[in-house]
Symmetry: C2
Subunit: 198 residues, 2 copies
């Protein structure tokens, strides 16, 4: 199978960066040749998360076509939020939790979206459906992304599915999610403004 790049939206937030890493990990286990990349540098909050779980930031790319013909999108679908040369690329997989707009394909594809507070919640379900074990580091990234998108389960987009995922992931990651969540959200506010409010 040809290599594919996996990435979140432009001006990536914690979910966009972590979901790319999580999905690349899952897809590798399922036999795909993938690399998680990002369309921008991590913001302060995301740096805190990556540091916390000893995870390198994904390589930043400006374009994907020079490297691959096919890509996998996480945490977005709208072309104007995606990589600059998205119209030259074949999107084979999308995992998201946003509305769908201006997203067109020529061929059938894998598309998985659920109306939940964070795409890492959807990915958590997908690991379980495929019985792929969630390592502590990946659980930490998932937990952080859900805390980030739902503002520690307080935002109106939060669902029971997100809450349940946070409880289970906190056990795997061995983290007190209330305590950790506050520290993480604080880390994101001490410097520049949050890049993406969802």
């Amino acid at each position: 199978m040809a290599k594919e790049l996996v990435f979140g939206h432009q001006s990536p937030d914690t979910d966009a960066i972590c979901a790319a890493i999580e999905y690349a990990y899952l897809q590798e286990k399922l036999g795909y040749d993938v690399e998680a990349v990002a369309l921008g540098e991590p913001n302060e909050e995301t740096k805190f998360v990556l540091n916390q779980f000893n995870q390198k930031a994904p390589r930043v790319i400006k374009e994907a076509k020079p490297e691959v013909d096919s890509v996998m999108l996480v945490d977005h679908n709208e072309p104007q939020q995606s990589v600059s040369d998205i119209d030259k690329l074949n999107v084979t997989h999308v995992v998201d939790h946003h509305r769908i707009a201006n997203f067109n394909t020529e061929k059938p594809l894998f598309y998985r979206a659920e109306p939940v507070g964070c795409v890492s919640t959807v990915l958590f379900e997908m690991f379980n459906e495929k019985s792929v074990e969630i390592p502590q580091k990946i659980a930490g990234l998932m937990l952080s992304a859900i805390i980030s998108d739902t503002l520690l389960l307080k935002s109106p987009t939060t669902t029971d599915v997100d809450k349940n995922a946070v409880k289970e992931l906190a056990k795997i990651a061995n983290v007190d999610y209330e305590d950790y969540g506050i520290k993480m959200l604080k880390a994101g506010t001490n410097v520049d403004a949050r890049s993406d409010e969802d």
Copy 2:
């Protein structure tokens, strides 16, 4: 929860009609108030299938808005293949296996598509993921839809996922799928032309 209608595309084929019945069954088990309907009468092949498994044909509707505000789509997403007043409706769920084109929503939704030969194959996976038992009748409808869309697993769109589903469903439905499949495909060709080639 408000009632929703579940339906396949216009000029429905076996998959469009059976998938609506299958998905309505699953969603009811998951707590939704739903009714499977259709956008046209069953063709000869589908009549044979419904008869074979003692299943009533879904009620045919011209419009959905007079009855509901929200709908669930199966086996299609493109508006021009959907119900005539689709633009007045809120699409909350889509389960499909086609490309995505001109499909836009205002809000996040449940969207599940996989590049396989038949949407009933995707629904078969979803029953298993949610551990909802597949009754013999539903298994028979799923089996028939996959045989119909993939021309008894011969069409180029056929995947191993479809083949595996047919084997398992044949056991549940207690049917010899080769023998049954030939009879079913024959029933579809003896009168009017096939309405939808996929």
